[in-house]
């Protein structure tokens, strides 16, 4: 009976929750920040589910002379560092269901395949396209973060696996990237990645990775064609890990240096007490990752598609996020919807201000970043994919002409913004999704 007791509790908590603890202090070897040099460009995308109260979103005025809307008010201190876009959309998200087809494609500008899972298909997301081309510049190629685990099950009502609604970062059309939701794990991961590996440990790790790659190659010869693809995923992540171990162990020859030190006394909780605290901690992680230059690319999901996280912690809100987004044009619900939208903008503003407080020579980390804020719906009540709420924070190293409200003709490709961002990031592309060129009026020529 005693055993039963243990398993009950273990079941309840979803595991006895043994953390893989690092010998923390031991790992605190002092790291000296690297020399200044030309600051790198960073790129992040923050995704908000369920759309916006449109009437309180769109700013008045066009160009530099615009007035922040009620929902965008929290951006007031940074108005000249932010760009607001109106009338962008993702053509690939037309049709399909209310949420998944739009939200899974927010960074891929593709059309996902309707499936409960067997033949999942999307495009490569803009963050991963950039990460694949800059993978060796930083200890981590990219960070995928969230606050809620992947949504459970298949949405039998519309016939899509909820995996679609739980991932915005896709490294291939068939591979969504898992997100980290435990702030302490993220922190430890950043720390370890920045610290690098001792030559001896790296040597052992390489022996080990070599061995398992050997197993994978043997196994691969014993598989049918569709299974080979799955094993190639394994080969690919293990190989890139081997390369990272290689790079991080070169001691004084290591070309990467942290641009700032991490605070060794800071230890974020594993399970934050509230949704609000959880989101804030993840914003801190992005800021730390960018300041130290542990990675230059991050994506963050405030929630999964159709998220019904309760926002009753906000004064005036009585229901969950998705419920409120179906406001039926009732004044009371629209008001709640706007309060929730505004709360998200406050978190976004918090991140931007934090990046702005991080000096890099004459500029700040925010000046050298592009932080996208996006929802894949405008009016959630209608599941409207037109006129998406899209913001860009930061100046992309001076390339972004921020401080504007840019208004385009109806149904202008969101993909054009991504073409411009990839250009400013230093990984230009001819086309992306349904793009027709760079986004007019955004980039300063070089």
């Amino acid at each position: 009976m005693k055993d039963l007791r243990i398993s009950r509790r273990a079941l309840l908590r979803g595991g006895a929750g043994v953390a893989i603890g690092l010998p923390w202090l031991e790992a605190m070897a002092a790291t000296t920040p690297g020399s200044a040099g030309k600051p790198p460009i960073r790129m992040a995308a923050l995704y908000m589910p369920n759309g916006v109260n449109v009437s309180a979103w769109t700013p008045k005025g066009v160009g530099r002379d615009f007035e922040l809307s009620p929902t965008l008010q929290p951006l007031a201190p940074l108005k000249d560092k932010v760009t607001v876009f109106s009338n962008l959309w993702n053509q690939g998200s037309k049709g399909g269901d209310g949420h998944y087809v739009k939200e899974a494609a927010i960074l891929t500008c593709n059309t996902i395949k309707k499936t409960p899972g067997a033949d999942i298909s999307n495009g490569v997301s803009i963050d991963q396209l950039a990460a694949q081309r800059t993978a060796d510049a930083t200890p981590l190629p990219s960070l995928e973060l969230g606050v809620t685990p992947v949504a459970i099950g298949v949405d039998a009502v519309v016939g899509y696996t909820r995996i679609y609604g739980s991932h915005i970062a896709w490294s291939s059309p068939t591979t969504p990237l898992a997100r980290e939701i435990n702030p302490r794990s993220v922190w430890e991961r950043l720390f370890r990645a920045g610290k690098g590996t001792s030559a001896n440990a790296a040597k052992m790790d390489k022996l080990l990775l070599d061995r398992v790659l050997g197993d994978a190659r043997t196994l691969r010869t014993q598989l049918g064609s569709s299974d080979k693809q799955r094993l190639d995923e394994y080969l690919s992540v293990m190989r890139s890990m081997e390369e990272r171990v290689e790079r991080s162990s070169q001691g004084t020859k290591r070309t990467w240096k942290p641009r700032a030190a991490m605070d060794p006394k800071f230890l974020p909780p594993e399970r934050p007490e509230s949704h609000a605290e959880h989101v804030r901690l993840m914003m801190d992680m992005i800021a730390t990752a960018f300041e130290t230059d542990t990675t230059r690319i991050a994506t963050f999901m405030f929630g999964n598609a159709v998220s019904n996280v309760s926002f009753r912690f906000l004064e005036g809100v009585t229901a969950g996020h998705h419920d409120v987004s179906h406001h039926s044009n009732e004044e009371e619900k629209l008001k709640q919807y706007q309060i929730i939208n505004r709360w998200h903008i406050e978190q976004y503003s918090y991140l931007l201000q934090k990046l702005a407080s991080m000096k890099e020579g004459e500029s700040t980390v925010l000046d050298n970043s592009m932080v996208l804020f996006a929802s894949a719906l405008s009016d959630g009540n209608k599941h409207d994919p037109h006129r998406l709420p899209i913001l860009l924070g930061g100046r992309g190293g001076g390339r972004i002409q921020s401080g504007q409200h840019l208004v385009y003709g109806e149904d202008h490709p969101l993909a054009n913004l991504y073409v411009s961002m990839l250009d400013a990031f230093g990984t230009p592309v001819e086309r992306f999704g349904d793009s027709t060129g760079p986004l007019a009026g955004l980039l300063r020529d070089v």
């Binding site: 929750g17 997100r179 080990l208 890990m241 229901a319 969950g320």
Partner: protein
């Protein structure tokens, strides 16, 4: 979506009649060649399977699942579907960390250490001989099938490299075994490729693995490996016997827990469906009560299969799972076992207490409510999807959600507002099916406590089906559901087959489902017949030839 009230919209019934006809025609064609096995894709161990396998392999009481990202679901809605078990860079980092952590732990602890270091160098035994013995013992366990010399030698090389780098015998062994824990041979479940061009029975080890990951969510034990080696695993009587043995093992709780939580969606209780802490402070404060509530359907499920009760018990039953905490929560006296009142256990449902079947369980009633109030629509939709396997179509966008409408006078009840909703033709076709299944449960609050009044008004638990059948309350609802028991049994069978195969079901699998359902009905809805039907089915025991897509 066409405009509301458009006369051109075919009615839901007409559409379903048509699609039902198409499906039956396709199915008849697929079944005409007899039942076929499906593909046997390679699959990564999911988070829970990985943690349980590591625990059983090393005999250490540690659960590392919290260190890994959760897995999404595909197929029939479970997180063990081969096609949706992706591998991210995050996984590879965690696998490396956990392997190191686990082997460091194993090196320190007596039990795992003894289990691994079965040989040491000594008089007449060289280091290499001892190491070879260790690997020959460990690797087949870790890889869950016999391991050839060619597969083992590289691990001996790895051990040698560690020794060359100055490590001791013990450290070298644990280091090389760390490699085994990151190998795809450990991380993936795979079955030998079938290149015979024809269907064939799975090899014994593959079948042992399928059985063990189905019933235990973990690797096979020594007994299963032995039966696999004997070549007798395919014999129906052996399989039936093993099902009983394996269900009685504590490890079958993994099966009950994972299947039930995903089938009935109760995993969401600790996520977005968590009852509001401000409105339900007792629930939020008591870990004991939350645990009792969450585990009630899980234990119920396991007992039903252990005792070979009817699968219709899920709809209504004379027995349920109770604890002292649950009895108190219900406010009724229950015939609890005195010495184990705190442990969930099988008890007779007191007469007239409305506590039989799944639909009386707080976990179900909460997960099909809003966190702050009950909803006949959500509960009705939950029954259609989870129990009957006939999910309603999505609501058209931009139609007023009358249930919560403030534009109507506050005095109107949810029922009155829904009645208004159903007058709208765009809404009626679905809501006239959904709502009547939810109203009878209005006697239960969000946490499943009985109530006769709600907001000062007497609860009206009456409902009327589209065909005019009138009924009321949970007992009336259960009768209505029992009239549709074939839908329920078919749905449960499909779910279990999908879970057992760990992949999405195909048209040809529907012939297997038909076959199992027929056996279950013939055998008085025996739950054991259902489970045996799944395990003995052709798709579970055979593999299709490679290259032929189903």
């Amino acid at each position: 979506m066409p405009p509301i009230g458009s006369p051109k919209v075919p009615s839901l019934d007409a559409r379903e009649q048509f699609s039902g006809w198409v499906e039956r025609a396709l199915q008849a064609t697929a079944c005409s060649d007899g039942i076929k096995a499906g593909p046997s894709p390679i699959r990564r161990l999911n988070r829970d399977e990985y943690a349980a396998t590591l625990r059983d392999l090393l005999e250490m009481q540690l659960d590392v699942s919290a260190s890994l990202p959760a897995d999404g679901a595909g197929g029939e809605g479970f997180d063990n579907a081969a096609e949706t078990l992706f591998l991210s860079p995050l996984h590879s980092e965690k696998y490396m960390e956990i392997a190191k952590f686990a082997m460091d732990f194993a090196a320190r602890e007596f039990k795992p250490r003894a289990k691994i270091l079965i040989a040491r160098p000594g008089p007449g035994v060289t280091d290499e001989q001892a190491a070879r013995e260790v690997f020959a013992n460990f690797l087949p366990n870790a890889f869950r099938r016999p391991v050839t010399d060619a597969e083992m030698l590289p691990y001996i090389d790895l051990y040698r490299a560690a020794r060359k780098a100055g490590q001791t015998y013990d450290d070298g062994i644990f280091f090389a075994l760390r490699g085994a824990l990151v190998s795809p041979m450990f991380l993936f479940r795979r079955e030998p490729i079938n290149d015979t061009g024809a269907e064939r029975p799975l090899d014994g080890y593959s079948l042992a693995n399928r059985l063990s990951y189905l019933l235990w969510g973990s690797m096979p034990d020594e007994l299963l490996f032995d039966v696999a080696a004997s070549g007798k695993l395919h014999e129906p009587e052996v399989l039936k016997e093993l099902i009983g043995v394996m269900l009685r093992n504590e490890k079958s709780r993994n099966f009950a827990n994972r299947f039930v939580e995903q089938w009935l969606h109760t995993r969401d209780l600790s996520g977005t469906k968590a009852p509001d802490a401000a409105l339900f402070p007792t629930y939020a404060a008591s870990e004991e009560l939350r645990s009792d509530i969450r585990l009630q359907p899980v234990y119920f499920f396991r007992e039903i299969f252990l005792r070979d009760e009817s699968v219709l018990s899920f709809i209504d039953s004379k027995y349920t799972i109770a604890t002292g905490g649950l009895a108190k929560h219900f406010g009724i006296k229950m015939p609890l076992k005195q010495n184990q009142a705190q442990q969930p256990h099988w008890v007779e449902v007191p007469e007239g207490s409305n506590r039989g079947g799944l639909l009386s369980m707080p976990a179900i009633l909460a997960v099909s409510s809003y966190p702050y109030r009950t909803s006949p629509v959500l509960r009705g939709a939950w029954i259609l999807e989870a129990l009957l396997g006939t999910p309603p179509p999505p609501p058209p966008p931009n139609v007023p959600d009358l249930e919560d409408s403030k534009s109507h006078t506050a005095s109107k009840s949810v029922r009155e507002r829904l009645a208004q909703h159903r007058q709208n033709p765009a809404c009626a076709s679905c809501h006239s099916r959904i709502d009547p299944l939810g109203f009878p449960l209005e006697n239960y609050d969000v946490l499943g406590r009985w109530r006769d009044t709600d907001g000062g008004q007497p609860v009206d638990a009456s409902a009327e089906l589209m065909d005019g059948t009138k009924f009321s309350g949970p007992e009336g609802l259960k009768k209505v559901l029992l009239d549709r028991k074939d839908l329920f049994v078919r749905n449960l069978t499909a779910k279990m087959l999908g879970y057992a195969l760990g992949r999405g079901l195909t048209l040809s699998d529907s012939c297997t489902i038909d076959d199992i359902v027929a056996q279950v009905k013939k055998n008085n809805y025996s739950s054991r017949t259902l489970l045996e039907g799944v395990v003995l089915s052709r798709p579970f025991r055979y593999q299709a030839p490679e290259g032929k897509k189903q």
